[in-house]
Symmetry: D2
Subunit: 473 residues, 4 copies
Amino acid sequence: MENNDKKAWGGRFAEDTADLALKLSESISYDRRLARQDIRGSRAHARMLAARGIISAKDGETIQSGFDQLEKELAEGNVTWDVTKEDVHMNLESRLTAIIGDAGGRLHTARSRNDQVATDTRLWLRDACAQTVGAIHHLQSALHRRAQENVDVLLPGYTHLQRAQPVRLAHHLLAWVEMLERDRGRISDAVQRFNQCPLGSGALAGTTFPIDREQTSKELGFREPTQNSMDTVADRDFIAEVLSAWSICAIHLSRFSEELVLWCSQEFGFVKMSDAYATGSSMMPQKKNPDMAELIRGKSGRVVGALVSILTVMKGLPLTYNRDMQEDKEGLFDGFDTVLLSLQVMAGMVATLSFQEEPMARALKEGFADATEIADWLAERGMPFRDAHHVVGRLVARCTREQKVLAELSLEELQQEHAGFDDTVYEVLNMERAVERRDHVGGPARAQVQAQLQRWQTLLEGRANALTPTDPI
Amino acid sequence: MENNDKKAWGGRFAEDTADLALKLSESISYDRRLARQDIRGSRAHARMLAARGIISAKDGETIQSGFDQLEKELAEGNVTWDVTKEDVHMNLESRLTAIIGDAGGRLHTARSRNDQVATDTRLWLRDACAQTVGAIHHLQSALHRRAQENVDVLLPGYTHLQRAQPVRLAHHLLAWVEMLERDRGRISDAVQRFNQCPLGSGALAGTTFPIDREQTSKELGFREPTQNSMDTVADRDFIAEVLSAWSICAIHLSRFSEELVLWCSQEFGFVKMSDAYATGSSMMPQKKNPDMAELIRGKSGRVVGALVSILTVMKGLPLTYNRDMQEDKEGLFDGFDTVLLSLQVMAGMVATLSFQEEPMARALKEGFADATEIADWLAERGMPFRDAHHVVGRLVARCTREQKVLAELSLEELQQEHAGFDDTVYEVLNMERAVERRDHVGGPARAQVQAQLQRWQTLLEGRANALTPTDPI
Amino acid sequence: MENNDKKAWGGRFAEDTADLALKLSESISYDRRLARQDIRGSRAHARMLAARGIISAKDGETIQSGFDQLEKELAEGNVTWDVTKEDVHMNLESRLTAIIGDAGGRLHTARSRNDQVATDTRLWLRDACAQTVGAIHHLQSALHRRAQENVDVLLPGYTHLQRAQPVRLAHHLLAWVEMLERDRGRISDAVQRFNQCPLGSGALAGTTFPIDREQTSKELGFREPTQNSMDTVADRDFIAEVLSAWSICAIHLSRFSEELVLWCSQEFGFVKMSDAYATGSSMMPQKKNPDMAELIRGKSGRVVGALVSILTVMKGLPLTYNRDMQEDKEGLFDGFDTVLLSLQVMAGMVATLSFQEEPMARALKEGFADATEIADWLAERGMPFRDAHHVVGRLVARCTREQKVLAELSLEELQQEHAGFDDTVYEVLNMERAVERRDHVGGPARAQVQAQLQRWQTLLEGRANALTPTDPI
Amino acid sequence: MENNDKKAWGGRFAEDTADLALKLSESISYDRRLARQDIRGSRAHARMLAARGIISAKDGETIQSGFDQLEKELAEGNVTWDVTKEDVHMNLESRLTAIIGDAGGRLHTARSRNDQVATDTRLWLRDACAQTVGAIHHLQSALHRRAQENVDVLLPGYTHLQRAQPVRLAHHLLAWVEMLERDRGRISDAVQRFNQCPLGSGALAGTTFPIDREQTSKELGFREPTQNSMDTVADRDFIAEVLSAWSICAIHLSRFSEELVLWCSQEFGFVKMSDAYATGSSMMPQKKNPDMAELIRGKSGRVVGALVSILTVMKGLPLTYNRDMQEDKEGLFDGFDTVLLSLQVMAGMVATLSFQEEPMARALKEGFADATEIADWLAERGMPFRDAHHVVGRLVARCTREQKVLAELSLEELQQEHAGFDDTVYEVLNMERAVERRDHVGGPARAQVQAQLQRWQTLLEGRANALTPTDPI
């Protein structure tokens, strides 16, 4: 083994090691995604340094014009990323210095990469959250529009995947709008919480230079500077919080996807997918698969995985910065890309779904969704509910045997089970009427659903104008 | 195999099956923890039913007095939980009916276990969140008090577990207060979001009875009724959100625990634990182990596990209620117990820690935490920082060789490395002075730390009066 | 705040603290589940001590008779667990000493709780694994029996939840048997790996007494003693490995449960659940919910949660024993209970399922599962497959429009799409024949399925006799 | 909103949608990593088709020569991947057909992408597992060599991060070798289990062509063909199993990393890192940070995240193939890259560590690691261990007060606590002797450690020759 191992570690060992260690530690392959944010933060920092006389006014101007040039190069895709310069900060600073000379080196005064990367990440995440909130809005709008179009369509609501009680399709669709609204709220609360400026926290203990943290904070649109330098460079809980909000959102999408997969099956047949969101099989000519819904359902797994990753990374780390924390970014980027794309494709899919009223109506009719109604009819006429439940149970069993629905039983047949039945029972077997009786806040009756549609109309319209389109990040 | 299997499934098979299925599906072994909330919700529901004439005024009163009796039995521990009655709802309803007769049966009018359990869980979770917020407050207060006592104590701040720059112990302790404040915020935001009343959502589609959802919502202290019956019985995202907030909090505690374990080691020696929070070894007479900190660090794993559980449970479930969702409670209860107890014990541990100033001072002195200061001194006198860095690097290497600290180098020795040194350099080697120069918002200088202490004093005092003691849940 | 806090920490503070710290650190509330294993390990340890002359032969005998008494008390439920004695080891040792006096105190010679608990846990886990392997066997047997009964039943196989190609129900059921076989293999491999005896590793560095580790290892049925004392008390990877194997098994069960939930829906209607495994609704007389399948599906989440917990607990712990590791047991116990019960109930459910051949046949007929067959028929007659695919696509579209199946198209209608059709095409539209043509290893043709049934018959029979019934643990 | 939304979905909508759906569903951006395996599988499939006369011998030869060309293009990096061709299978088939014409189209006969991708992934994973096993071997070898060099170095073993008992450094290092051995075993067991050939399973139900599954299985080095076509295309448990084995391995590495971070701290000072594995600070001249150890510690989080992802993805999926399963690859690839690189860098780090004997010796001396020895000395002379524990406790307290170690107490001082002390007690205070007394299997005595070193020497040497170098994958 000795010889063997000598060979293994001999010769090019030093070089190999350097290569592997560099490969393990570099971040430029992914953190270059923060380039714009890095420049934005650096510009603000440079302006502050000049304003406080820490660097000269001239250096300050030179730095800004250097960044003008650098941003142009970035936009044109002309920046070469060098892995030996490790990360986005060193790559950009190096290029800046190449453009403007010594003044570039003075930019890093009163700053450390520890507060710099925390600033970049928060700026990026603020944009990323705005984009997912925008995508949630578009999906809510698509659902709302489809709900408006389908107020008159009835279908069975399900519990345990068993047909249970009749509801309006609009009511069903608005349930998803409610869930998305909470997703939106969680993301917004997170942004509000983390929107503080890390700049000035230095490596961990601030800086000895006479900086003005309010100025940079304000220029970068933060609520205020962070209040403790050690906390600032040590914590990544804002990443865990956003990944948690995105995970819950992804789980919601997985549930809606499951429903679409079910509804697309030949057994349900409640919707047809637009061809743009389904695929055929190269082998089986009859197939039309709801691939997009399946993929969105599956992709929830990777967002949850990213959440678990960041929590595991942070577990047990003492103050302050530890290099482990570099592992915060890839999961965050992937979580964002996954959730944003899932929301966008889901919105397109919803907008182009073709609802199939006939299978819904058939399912409603055959599903004995009116069984509760007869039981209620009997209960209202004084029969203990438990007894009424038994009477209806026997009627359902008979219908199943004879392949009928309840409304097809003749009055005589009804009276064979219970003498007290009369003609008025047929009124409650009307599904429309059954839905209409559920007329309270949050219920499926037409008036209630219309009120909800109106509430959402107002809310969504009000927000549409406030949506600020951001560049892809 | 046939014979074998016949035996396996024969004979007592039917009974066995019933037993196993019951064991799989019962929830009374844990959801009886919701008993008080269940009664509270039922009382409000009954009052509303009576107010709306859905049950008689007399029945309404009978129900309330039945609950008086039942609550007394609960307080006395005299309620027998019957596993064949499956869950807390059926157990309580059954006992109520035994006490007051038929009126008990009318309580369930216009209600389903689906909206009932959602109401109970939210009521319980509101209390649970209040208790964790209270425990966070006490831990923050303990940290704040220890910070106030230790404004004058200096120690090295660490990055990469390497001594980096000098900070005040108070500054270090306040970093943890900041993290806990965000934990508090996350929990509060969650409560604000989920504080809506599910009652009236029925099994999934509301109810045909003329209920008043505003009344029950108001009586139970909810912000408003939920707005969509299907969403209400289908979603558990409030559980995932709170478990996520608790997980992040538990991760914070794991990090603080790691620090305490490090500080208790003979190598660091920065703190001594009170005997109440340490244990000895029955085998090794010299041992004093920081068991509580280790346990709190480890217990973060179970909170993260509970979060993963609920996300996995909900993944891919279509609307509306599915029985899988019964799996929401045990992880939630366990997460709460774990986080609450961890916070409480941590507060006691912090309050009784004995900080060891001498080892902190020695670590500061020997850690070359003043190296940056000399480099800055040189830079301020015109030497490029890169060169200054090299000069100091050589000085540090010499000190390491000769087992000295920088301040112990004579002026001659300093000048051997760089002729420009003069007596004034010894001023910056004063650690106190080094800290004082970091005088900006969020920095460790005395004035800044005092300002932060005052800010927290005001905040924490203001909240102390608002803390509402709740019973153990 | 001062006053407030004084009150909070004053007065009963010392007591409260002690109570909370005890509550955080005690394990007797759950590790008493290891009582039998603890005694078994102690008996072996005592016999070895006596054999090596470390304790006297008389003490050795006294200890064994003391355990006779203690085991009797345990069996009768007469042992009082005392939380102030913290854990199962101290509780049992204390009771033993109360029974036999001083000799009880000598039992702990050359042993530490660190190697003791590792031994107990491995003994327990070996039994637990045997039980889950047994439960897997029973579920495999149930599936195998149902497969044997249903070789002649055809149904559509699904991809993307779309009907794809015809298969035998037996073939479909055997797919689950295959998955369970891998689950069994994973558990068995884990047992083989961890079946080493920790006794003698002491606190971390072994013991100075002249022990015989081979003797205890052999008596306790371990493969060999562990080979490194520090590794032995530091590692819990056997727990992570088993929880991982159980998690994958639970995920398999979640998938089978999903299928059962689908098949129970009115839309599919492929199975009817025995009443023992379904529940009705107290509100909706027509409902029959597959609650057990839903619960098993959901319970997969808690096993995955337990796996994440132990991985998170162990992350970043240095050698050797750290108190965090006490957090290994509750998740393990819960994972075991969950998987065992899920397997048992699933076996009962499978054994009592009523397969509905008519809906399966209808789904097969209406699902165009024969579309590939016509395409193949054309391809075999020289048409490029791509063109054949198009021809059949048009035929399927026509059938959908006219609500027909392919076999109902007349020869004329077929020839309208492609002139080359002749009577022989009707042969391939026979579903039975389509299945029979898939006649290779692992395919659904009768001969292949029979061969697999025979293979499993032999395997399962061979194992049935080797199953060692263990007591509930 | 109407107008707004019209704009949002109008105009380029169709195109946008197509783009987004393609972006969601394409896999070529990552599954091209399977290109070599895809070709290898296709070659075997083609040979079997020709051997069975399903394609002509000429076509068979043409296909092989086409692949010669294609592999050359791949090696030269000349293959253009086209995202509109979705995945690696379609891209390669398309290029093959461009090279050889029609025969390329016949390759897909009797195959589906469902069995094809399962084959590719298993082939890739077999290589990936071999590589991680190889990297484990190298790390074990490096640890073994360092252990051999350090048999004479003593240091305190720790429990609870408190100095506990003296051990040999070699013994400590071999603990990690043991853990890695189990990691190796888990990976090997997984390979053995999944090493079955999926080819021939088709889309889900095999194929109607007269294929020979044994031939392809044998040619590709699989143990046997899979036994059930539906299981084969439906399951991904081999991915979960390997990710679980890698996760446990990554957790081991996180623990070793923690130890290295501790040992590199100024407080411990037990090791110095080679410069190749440490970084300085651009700000703080005195810093030398153990970045590689921190990164490896952190990267354990992403492997655990990948494991959680695949479990979540698979949860609740019915048979057979569902598109969600496409989400299996990226986490697998990332888990492999992470674990392999972590192992490699760790091996280099271990090989170049500089152990610092003096700080270890000091820690041993000052840590009262000999306290147990005196207690044992007293116990062997008849004092009840409990009393001996108290005597030593008082001696330790005195030493702490007087800043001495036990061996520095005079006989008089010892006798002040207990009259029975005599000169022979100083013998047990020799740390070397204390270690030597722990002389049993798995203990730290020299003979035992030498035996373990020899056992590993033989094992590792035997394996070194069997390591098959594989190309990077």
